[in-house]
């Protein structure tokens, strides 16, 4: 238990020392979200800005007005607006992929790294991270495909019983189980990414293999740490939505914006906390190397 606590608090300390990364990513996330919503916003405003009917939206979340709004030809099929939002989500993903090495280097360092070091780390590792990303997609795709197929089969079997709750419970617990498995995969590849950056490892397969061994040998503390942070993230999301619903008056756009963005900022911070947990673990592993893994040449010292 203390080991989990150590990892969580070590990760928390790292993330806390480097809050600027969360803020940068949040600003990027906000910008991507804003750009992705411009087209939708313009069309919606064109219909609602001078309409008394739209003011009903300020009394409650009136589904009649909302669905009628979505059904207007001026708004068109929802996919029209989903496309730019999806593009921006992919852009955020790519940006995360490119910038993350610098963040990991910063996390591993006990001082504030220079901008030059940050971008050099990003540049040196971009192609490695792309390869790791592809490996992850393949492995996670296969495993989640198998797991979701199994869940579908179970759900279909549950549908055939007269116990009405069973399909819901199968779906719920099945999905939680799959998310836990995917979290294990995420831990594995988070460690691999950290290893690539800290060891300046060009052969990503070695980092993947090493991270796999470390994940296997330290699954309980790592998984417990990741899940603990994920539970906090879930609590933040639920609390944010409840606050939004219960505290913010239906006419207050500013209030809704502040609560929603605060929720998103905290959610992002939770993911960075998980990252920091992986870095803290790797730093510990590297500074206290295991005998059989001493053939690798740590570059961690160079940046510490």
């Amino acid at each position: 238990m203390s080991e989990h606590r150590n990892l969580i608090s070590a990760g928390g300390n790292i993330a806390g020392r480097n809050k600027r990364y969360v803020v940068w990513f949040y600003i990027l996330n906000l910008a991507c979200g804003w750009i992705g919503a411009i087209a939708a916003s313009r069309s919606i405003h064109a219909l609602t800005d001078h309409s008394l009917y739209a003011s009903r939206l300020l009394r409650s979340f009136d589904l009649e007005v909302f669905f009628e709004l979505l059904g207007r030809p001026e708004i068109g099929p929802i996919g029209k607006f989903a496309a730019p939002a999806n593009m921006m989500a992919i852009l955020f993903l790519v940006a995360s992929l490119v910038i993350m090495p610098g963040v990991l280097l910063g996390y591993a360092s006990d001082h504030r790294i220079s901008r030059d070091e940050f971008y050099r780390a990003c540049g040196r590792n971009v192609w490695r991270f792309v390869r790791l990303f592809v490996f992850f997609l393949i492995i996670a795709g296969i495993i989640s495909g198998i797991l979701f197929s199994g869940l579908n089969a179970l759900s279909n079997a549950a549908d055939k019983t007269s116990n009405e709750r069973l399909p819901y419970l199968v779906q719920l617990f099945g999905t939680i189980f799959i998310l836990i498995i995917l979290t294990v995969l995420r831990i594995w590849f988070d460690l691999a990414q950290t290893d690539v950056v800290l060891q300046d490892q060009n052969a990503v397969r070695k980092s993947i293999a090493g991270a796999f061994r470390k994940t296997r040998h330290n699954l309980v503390p790592l998984l417990a740490s990741y899940l603990a942070v994920a539970v906090v993230a879930l609590a933040i999301l639920v609390s944010g939505i409840v606050l939004w619903n219960q505290i913010v008056p239906p006419y207050s756009v500013l209030g809704a914006f502040i609560v929603s963005q605060a929720t998103l900022l905290l959610l992002l911070a939770m993911r960075f906390w998980q990252r920091a947990v992986a870095v803290a673990f790797q730093v510990r592993e590297i500074t206290e190397p295991v005998i059989e893994e001493t053939n690798s040449v740590p570059v961690f010292a160079a940046v510490s």
């Binding site: 001078h50 008394l52 009903r56 009649e64 059904g71 999806n86 955020f92 009405e164 929603s260």
Partner: protein
């Protein structure tokens, strides 16, 4: 030919042409005039049929062996020698018309991409005897009244050599075998549950001088005559049974089965259900004609909702009794069907199916509460006012959808009668508009049910469009007048088969208004209504003067409002113009021209203009252009845009969380 032979031949021909009673016993036949199942000392309907049936259900094979003795009273005013019968269960075969249409358009969320043998249904007549005229089993002929599908076996016809005279009786003795499908069209089995709907050979309706006995179609429902039903159902002893009418017997048999008997009066159909899992909850509603026993059959997983079901049902019955007329039957059975079956949300006389889930929050009225309301409403608009569901689907579904909006508004509040959950609201009328908006002009309302363009058009027009058309009509003639008209229509036409004109003329009569202009566009036409505020403008009267300084309350303005009729539907409308000094002006436009302009000279500028300020016109296709404000108010749009942006950011984070 000699004169003597000629005379004999003429005499014989004349005798043959004369209507003849089926046999001597036919003169003693009668439809029972009993009143044990209704809160009335006399029969309520002109009883045309009496069905006396016995059925033994095989719960393993989902099949049934039945015998039916049908006594028919010929009230057509003319001799009848041909009798058509519905065999509805034959619709569930791959080559039937029902299945052809279902395959083409889908029906009730089923697309029939592949044929599943569990969908097989059958209704086979084993023997068919006409009392006094003999066995006609081999002479039965399948007919196809609505199309040329020779593979459809949903209507069978018998031709009698001896016609049944006007006011005469005929008795049919039929043995039949049913195979139920896995629930389709709200009949059939699921696991160990069964709902027996449309399960027996049912005679057509003599209506407006001809037999009305349509092929079973994918979208349409049913039509039958009022009468008396005595039914004995034999099922395994572990089954809990419910059915139309009053339970009059329940006897265990030595072979592990039991026979439950039911008696129904002044009803036009008989359905039943059985499952080992039902848990019964009984309550009583004090109706204006007497007590009504409420028999609620719940699934065990929904047992905690039993009182909620009873409360909603009683509240709904109360509104119908007060607004439209009395519920005269002694029972009402509400069935909570097997979860996941296609048996939810169906109406039969004195017997309805609801539908709920194990997790249904109180504020979510869209689920069981709405279903209970809707299906009970059919006790009036189908059960007692027995319109032709094949030809006038809007008269049961649409009128029922309209009264549903009224009742649900009354029960849960007008702005949140469908959903009132965590700040999210949805009204019943808003739901109806959502139905109406996708296909407002694809089909007229007054149309045969099977001739709509597609499944969506049938649903949207018969339910949604009819409801918003009647809500708009209520706005034209007033809520009280509309309620009186509905009350009058119910009292006049209950226990008959009224036509669309019976309904429309009653509204005109009670309101004292000629409403043909409205009916021709809304019921018999496809015109779309869309009025819009085209433009508003306020210009200083002294605009040409140099150094003009506008001062609120002192500067005089010339203000103009342009109202446009964008659709083809024309009707008088109100327009309200608000000025920035708080003054309001109401205008009435006949709405005939394409546009109209109103001009004002006031020491105030226009703040806003709104068409239909009392929001009575529910059929306006676009509510957003019904008003225009001088000042921009970005708040509503920003609220929605903020939701969209939040979702976009959350999605981006989730993607990056898992993939990077």
């Amino acid at each position: 030919m000699r004169l003597g032979h000629w005379a004999v031949a003429c005499l014989m021909a004349a005798m043959a042409a004369l209507p003849v009673c089926a046999d001597d016993s036919a003169t003693t036949l009668a439809i029972p005039a009993t009143t044990s199942a209704i809160n009335s000392p006399t029969p309520l309907s002109q009883r045309v049929v009496a069905y006396d049936m016995s059925a033994k259900y095989n719960a393993t094979a989902h099949s049934l062996e039945g015998t039916e003795t049908l006594t028919y009273h010929n009230l057509s005013g003319q001799p009848l020698d041909t009798f058509p019968f519905h065999l509805y269960l034959n619709a569930f075969q791959p080559t039937s018309t029902w299945m052809r249409e279902g395959k083409r358009e889908g029906t009730r969320n089923q697309t029939f991409d592949t044929w599943d043998n569990k969908s097989n249904g059958a209704e086979e007549i084993k023997s068919f005897e006409v009392v006094g005229q003999g066995d006609f089993t081999s002479q039965l002929q399948f007919i196809h009244p609505d199309d040329d599908n020779k593979d459809d076996h949903t209507v069978v016809q018998v031709h009698l050599p001896k016609p049944i005279p006007p006011d005469g009786y005929v008795q049919f003795k039929i043995k039949f075998h049913d195979q139920f499908p896995e629930t389709l069209e709200r009949t059939g089995w699921n696991r160990d549950f069964v709902l027996g709907g449309q399960w027996f050979p049912k005679v057509g309706v003599w209506w407006h001088g001809a037999w009305n006995c349509h092929t079973f179609h994918a979208y349409t429902e049913f039509f039958a005559d009022f009468g008396v039903y005595d039914v004995k159902l034999t099922v395994p002893q572990n089954e809990v049974v419910g059915a139309v009418g009053v339970e009059v017997g329940n006897v265990n048999n030595p072979d592990g089965t039991k026979t439950v008997s039911y008696h129904g009066e002044d009803v036009h159909d008989f359905a039943w259900t059985a499952s080992p899992h039902y848990m019964n909850y009984d309550d009583t509603f004090q109706g204006s004609m007497g007590p009504v026993k409420l028999h609620i059959m719940m699934q065990p997983a929904h047992w905690s909702q039993r009182e909620r079901h009873a409360r909603v049902l009683k509240d709904v019955m109360d509104r119908f009794e007060r607004w439209y007329g009395p519920y005269p039957y002694k029972t009402l059975t509400l069935v909570d069907p097997e979860p996941g079956s296609q048996a939810f949300g169906m109406e039969y006389p004195t017997f309805i199916t609801g539908g709920t889930t194990w997790l249904e929050p109180e504020g979510f009225h869209l689920g069981s509460a709405e279903t209970i309301e809707h299906e009970f409403g059919h006790q009036y608009w189908y059960g007692m006012v027995a319109t032709n569901e094949f030809e006038d689907a809007w008269m049961d579904e649409g009128i029922n959808q309209y009264t549903q909006a009224k009742v649900m508004d009354s029960l849960f509040g007008a702005s949140a009668s469908s959903v009132d959950l965590a700040g999210i609201t949805w009204s019943e009328r808003g739901l109806d508009r959502l139905f109406y908006l996708p296909t407002p002009d694809l089909d007229i309302i007054a149309k045969n049910g099977w001739q709509y363009a597609n499944s969506d058009a049938y649903g949207n027009v018969t339910y949604g469009k009819t409801a918003v058309v009647l809500l708009t009509l209520e706005g034209i003639i007033g809520e009280d007048t509309m309620r009186r008209a509905m009350h009058t229509y119910f009292l006049r036409t209950r226990f008959t088969h009224p036509t669309k004109e019976d309904f429309l003329k009653t509204i005109e009569e009670v309101s004292g208004k000629d409403l043909r202009w409205y009916f021709n566009q809304a019921i018999y036409g496809t015109q779309v209504l869309d009025y819009a505020v085209l433009k508003i403008d306020s210009t200083p009267a002294d605009w040409y003067k140099d150094n003009l300084k506008e001062k609120k309350g002192e500067t005089e303005y010339v203000s103009n409002v342009w109202i446009q009729r964008k659709g083809e539907f024309a009707m008088p409308i109100d327009v309200e113009i608000k000025f920035d000094n708080g003054e309001k002006v109401r205008e009435r436009w006949d709405g005939q021209d394409r546009w109209v302009r109103y001009e004002y000279h006031k020491k105030a500028k226009i703040e806003s203009a709104e068409v239909d300020p009392n929001h009575k016109i529910m059929i306006d296709r676009n509510n957003f252009n019904n008003s225009q404000t001088a000042e921009k108010n970005p708040t509503p749009g920003s609220k929605i845009a903020n939701y969209w942006q939040f979702m976009g950011q959350l999605f981006a984070q989730a993607l990056a969380w898992w993939l990077v």
